[in-house]
Amino acid sequence: MSEREPVERDQAPSPSRRGFLAAVAAAAAGVMIAPGIRLIELAAARPAGEPASGAVRWGLLIDTTRCARGCEDCVAACARENALERRGETSVAETQRPQWIRKIELKELATGRELSLPMMCQHCARPPCVDVCPTGASFKRADGIVLVDQHRCIGCRYCMMACPYQARSFVHEPLARQNPAVPRGKGCVEGCTLCVHRVDRGLAPACVAACAEAGHGAMLFGDLNDPASAISRRLREVASVEVRADLRLGTGVRYQGI
């Protein structure tokens, strides 16, 4: 996949003519209702210095029926993109190695049905990690992406206690190599950023791009607030769930086929 492809093309290889017309109509409506929003919807890249827009809510739809058991393409892509240590690349215990995305293998106890899915920060609308953070280092961007301010985190790990998804990791050792776009540091808590540095450039998260590139197409990324986006259209068509929906956290990541 080319790094320069816009977000929507990442996982929508051939939008139908009908979908295209709907998108144009929605965009035209956007022009009339709120001109500022239209630009963001068409070209997701955000100019430097401009704050994230609350008109957008980035989200993911995971199709577990297309997620192969044992496939770790998304996990590898995440590690590559964010310069995370993979198994064997660090001397810390395996339980101490940061994992922003992981594959969970599931077996339904009553029926024996097996499935596999990626688990990462669910980018909740009402994130417990943000509530509990004493310094405000855990925060939610206007566009729904939940992040940790690496300059404000004191490493108390309360967010890790509060996260229902075990989605956060603590950096247990001094780090050597880093991606300049993805600041990390010993003694701070971190987690999936939804590849915010790519999203702001109009690209899909690395896991989504890798899944699409390998032809699995199990991950769909897009704007949940845009009724014409591929993800919104799919969510209208198929049954999907939030993990631990009982907690009413309003996750930005939804799963199909559980």
Binding site: R97, R102, I104, L106, R152, G155, Y158
Partner: protein, 408 residues
Amino acid sequence: MTQPSSAPLSAPWASRAGERRFWLAGALGALVLAAGLAAAHYMEVHGHAVTGMSNRIVWGVPHVFAIFMIVAASGVLNVASVGSVFGQPVYKARARLSGLLAVALLAGGLTVLMLDLGRPERIVVAATHYNLRSIFAWNVLLYSGLFAIVALYLWTLMERRLNAYSKYAGLAALVWRIVLTTGTGLIFGFLVARQAYQSAVLAPMFIAMSLAWGMAIFLIAQAALFAWQGRALDPAIRRRMARLLGVFVAAVLYFVLVYHLTNLYFARQVEFTRFILASGGAYPLLFWLGYVFVGSLVPLLLLFHPRSDDDRTVIVASTLVIVGAFAQLYVFIIGGQAFPLELFPGYAASSTFFDGAIAAYRPSLAEILLGFGGLALALVAAVVGVRVLPFMPEDDRRVVAAGSGAGE
């Protein structure tokens, strides 16, 4: 004030032996404190990789020590409350020592908590950026506030011209510490996703725990200080305080019972409760043997047995209560994290991140030293405090004799 006018300001050490014990306690405390600080430095340089903590057990043994000390700090101040707020002369004579121990324990607990942070040097960030939705941020304010209130309270107790205000300062301290321990309990109570926590009963349970642990520490400190000074503690006072400790220990047992019964009743909580109480290896052992038997039943027997009424019995019972407290906190904090989060009810889960698996945890020496370092800091602060300022209880015999028959 019950303090006789002839009482010396700073309690002297009656004998050379007492003097030696004071220096020994101070030196031992300083040594352990130095070891604790060295351990913290080691953790700071190498990161938490050198601890047994992980992405699953994010709070380890340092938190067990820190929370013990913070909770006990609130409870040890109860002795002062009983004196100043509820007007019991025997307790009022102990209000200063109670205040000193509270400040010492709080300092020890907060030091451990701070040095266990991933970025302890950013403590100034915690002091200048508050997320007021966070119970943790509230606790930062509550802990700092307790230092200030106890300092003020001690001032009203020590400065004769301010003695009249000690009742109000004592009342403020009482209210503040109830709020504070509620806040400590709710650090866990507010964790919605964890099976071990997410319960409002944790707030009153922590208050009961604070009363029991604080009283146990007070009784040990009191017995040690009296022994060092070659003074005898009035048996009537000892008996009253020992019985009160027994009541507090029973109250903690009650809350623990309610907590587990509730969990056993909810089908979704049964598996976790079975893990903690039966199948979880070290955790059930620590719970039943450490907390229930050694830390509760034996002390209750010792404290309420009509014929076991001497200094040694009270010290043994108090020590066992503290041992039980550590067992209880270890099971609560670490056992609570060891049990996996249930993301998909009805499914068996596995992953490279240990979903669905019981997390292993073995504390490293550095963590244990850091914890003991905090206790040592509290010890040093208390020993130095008693040495330089008049913190020792001075009982007025007439008051003791008159009040010896009264219960609490």
